[in-house]
Amino acid sequence: EPEVTQTPSHQVTQMGQEVILRCVPISNHLYFYWYRQILGQKVEFLVSFYNNEISEKSEIFDDQFSVERPDGSNFTLKIRSTKLEDSAMYFCASTRGQGSYNEQFFGPGTRLTVL
């Protein structure tokens, strides 16, 4: 069964450093998402991406964040200068179509720890 994969599973970084979180969505999917989950809290939407551009972003997704689909398979989230409060699980998700009833498939997540 196809699945969303994410690497690394755990990333530890120093405050102020740049990190890139990587995702490989399901191969025939066209819509991509990043969510984050601070420990013990709910999952929060960050950004959606389609046709090589951002469709929507939340207030969390400020200028320190960027997304890219550098090739036909990867979808990345970059944080330019990490802050302590960026420590969280980051989930990538993908969906085949844009319709409301298309299921979003989630990856296993990357745990980001900012020291």
Binding site: K42, V43, E44, E56, F91, S100
Partner: protein
């Protein structure tokens, strides 16, 4: 506002009992809702969904009920098993009508603990 929340943060049940997890949502224009299960160290896993033109939908051992009048969702798990132990989230999908481009708005989560 944008909020989807839960009434109970933790639910403990005996194996074999039925479980009911509740959720409230705020946007009356929302037309699609999903329940996700999250096991420790994993991403959210789809369980069951329901569209706003329905008030009940059944899956294998799970049932979702939607009450649009009071903006309330519930997930019922029949004959709860130890493997059901996880955190359960309700989510509301926001589309152009309800204010989004298919982003999911998640509730706070309920931890289900199943005891033998």
């Amino acid at each position: 506002g944008e909020s989807v929340g839960l009434h109970l943060p933790t639910l403990s049940v005996q194996e074999g009992d039925n479980s009911i997890i509740n959720c409230a949502y705020s946007n009356s224009a929302s037309d699609y809702f999903i329940w996700y299960k999250q096991e420790s160290g994993k991403g959210p896993q789809f369980i069951i969904d329901i569209r706003s033109n329905m008030d009940k939908r059944q899956g294998q051992r799970v049932t979702v009920l939607l009450n649009k009048t009071v903006k309330h969702l519930s997930l019922q798990i029949a004959a709860t098993q130890p493997g059901d132990s996880a955190v359960y989230f309700c989510a509301e999908k926001r589309n152009r009508i309800s204010g989004g481009y298919n982003k999911l708005i998640f509730g706070a989560g309920t931890r289900l603990a199943v005891h033998p």
